[in-house]
């Protein structure tokens, strides 16, 4: 039944995370990609989600603060001798 298998855009945006995680069954993944085949807007949405994840990843920058590292090593020495 074609009608019952179609995903709407509102459903697709709720499945995006599972799709990217590889959590959809192969049947659902085909339905998901079939929708993207004719819906440029949902393709855009998926792309935005990818860009969001990539931007979030760029928050991970700095190495550990040297002062904090020193404090931790001091604590280690205290533990070792204690």
């Amino acid at each position: 039944m074609k009608l019952s298998r179609d995903l709407t855009c509102a459903e697709v945006v709720e499945l995006v995370t599972e799709y990217l995680e590889g959590g959809l069954s192969s049947h659902d993944r085909e339905r998901f990609e079939e929708h993207l085949g004719f819906c440029d807007w949902c393709v855009t949405y998926l792309e935005q989600m990818r860009q969001t994840i990539e931007t979030t990843g760029r928050l991970r920058e700095e190495d550990i603060d040297p002062e904090l590292q020193d404090a931790l090593i001091e604590a280690f020495r205290g533990w070792r001798s204690g």
């Binding site: 995680e21 590889g22 959590g23 993944r29 079939e34 993207l36 085949g37 004719f38």
Partner: protein, 163 residues
Amino acid sequence: MIAYKFLGEGKVAPFSGVTWPDQGEWLEVETVDPCRVGVHACRIAQLPYWLRPELWEVELDGEVVEGELMVVAPRGRLVRRVEAWNRDTEREFGEACAAEARKRVERSPELELFAVDVEQTAASATAFAAFATARLAELQDGPPGYDAERLRQARWLAGALAL
């Protein structure tokens, strides 16, 4: 085996964003990206579902799994660009769908708005126009109508592109 693949401009895969290597070089998809399960391509009958700016003939290698709307293989490489698929052919394809939609609503005037949708998107969102035409056919003739319309679309493409 030989199959077909629609790509975005610059040989970019539409869902993963991966850029395909040059013609002749194999692309192997490992599961770095969990939503990718190998290289996807389609048979001629499945072309209307996947319209994109570039159409390529691809060679698939390894165990090919046939899905309902696509085929999946561990490796693939681009063989040749189907130059006949361009903006003009896409527009003509859209117009053919619009003509089909108009013809269909003659016997089902209550579905006229679908024909309007197809006409309005025939040039700007051709893949959607094709889908809408198939949906119209389904409302008229049930699921076999959907399949029949998609088959008509595939035959149109095969003819226009000499596949």
